[in-house]
Symmetry: C2
Subunit: 258 residues, 2 copies
């Protein structure tokens, strides 16, 4: 497999740095080809702006969507964006690895998503009509590929449990799993999460390497999260609400998992 | 009141730009003092890194938390960070205004949070013991202040409804409302959300201005979201899970609202 690891941590001599190195070695040893986008090391431009295209649609007014569409369609994207899109297209499996900062991904990785996920590439794809609302949520240019998050968090597992004060980790990650990965077509594997990172010793680190290693060894067999595809009958179009008979009475993020 | 508007949109000639100008005028006309952090116009540095302190704790290894703690405590923070913290301390009310990009705030605003929310300022505040887990979630340096989001989204309201495909807007915003605003002490007002931004005409824009105007006129009277304070008895410490008798049987984000 071709694996793309998108990694967002400022310090190589950190737990995240160690897990990145472990991941690369483990995957390579299993015969996979690994590409790495180390966003801090690449000095990745985090901020989406008018500089992301080499020729604006309208010199007066920048429109994040329409300028992205124009640039993507006509080969006018900034070179760093096009390079990341090519890496995504080459990959069979994408891993996003990051520390959970303020209950989401670091800004540098969010900016990678915003800039690389061009109109026509990751959104605005496919037919928009009375029966289809674009090729998204299960369809799209990244369909057929798999993705997984590797996340570190300072808080305890109980803080992120069903009744934990931070909210359940699966709900905190839903906008990334469903809204960023499933949206353009990825099948999304359950995440690998490390809690309580400030209390690390050799024993825990060994356990983490074993667990993460097992996850990396089984990327091709692991069952993805069963998100409901948008255009296969579960949703009313264009309201895009679950049909009455689907998960009756259920609301919220969990209702979108079959 | 002193109001701080933190605004994150790349194009002044946009719906967001118009709503920003409307907000400033409306608040000023009501006698409030308005400060604006226009992150794109300020060319805000979005990426948290070792450059955020003028003197590292350890020249070898950068630690996002410990270096932030050291820099905040000893006046060694980068000047742009200290300036934003001063604006927050001067404010009675903070408004974050942004377009919803990939189900969260734009990277430039996420990076504002990551860099301005220093250890000792927004987290790592107060006593950590068997009976208290820091001054957070209802307590902290920003207690006594109010905050509100003004958010624009391309999708329809139904797409963000209780059974809408994107997930409910209140759940999408929970990590910001609860995890970024309530965490350091803000009382959080219900958000003002504009949907379907690509279909805007003069009539809709008038309605939006009227609604937003009413929200701005009533900032001091509006009832905040009733998030449960961490240290007032609803949570077991240190597990930080809701006590059995609190919202019995309920799980997920909504359980943390009384």
């Amino acid at each position: 497999m071709n694996v793309l690891l998108v990694y967002a941590h400022p310090e190589p001599r950190s737990l995240n740095g160690a897990l990145r190195d472990f991941t690369i070695e483990r995957l390579a040893a299993a015969g996979h080809t690994v590409e790495v986008s180390d966003l801090y090391a690449m000095n990745w431009k985090a901020v989406l702006d008018a500089e992301d295209t080499t020729a604006r649609l309208d010199a007066g007014r920048f429109d994040a969507s329409l300028d992205s569409k124009h640039a993507y369609k006509n080969g006018l994207q900034s070179a760093d964006i096009a390079r990341e899109q090519q890496k995504l297209m080459r990959a069979d499996m994408v891993i996003l690895q990051f520390p959970l900062w303020w209950f989401s991904m670091p800004a540098i990785l969010k900016g990678w998503v915003e800039r690389v996920y061009a109109y026509g590439f990751a959104y605005g794809v496919g037919e928009h009509s009375d029966v289809r609302w674009g090729s998204r949520y299960g369809e799209g240019n990244l369909a057929g590929k798999r993705a997984m998050l590797v996340v570190t968090a300072g808080g305890w597992a109980s803080h992120y449990g069903p009744r934990g004060i931070n909210g359940p980790m699966e709900d905190i990650l839903f906008p990334i799993h469903h809204g960023i990965l499933y949206y353009p077509g990825f099948e999304v594997l359950p995440p690998y999460v490390v809690h309580r990172t400030s209390r690390m010793d050799e024993t825990r680190f060994e356990t983490i390497r074993r667990e993460l290693g097992e996850r990396l060894d089984s990327l091709q067999e692991t069952k993805p999260i069963a998100f409901r595809p948008q255009n296969a009958g579960d949703y009313e179009i264009p309201a895009l609400t679950l049909r009455e008979e689907v998960a009756p009475g259920r609301v919220g993020f969990a209702a979108h998992v079959a």
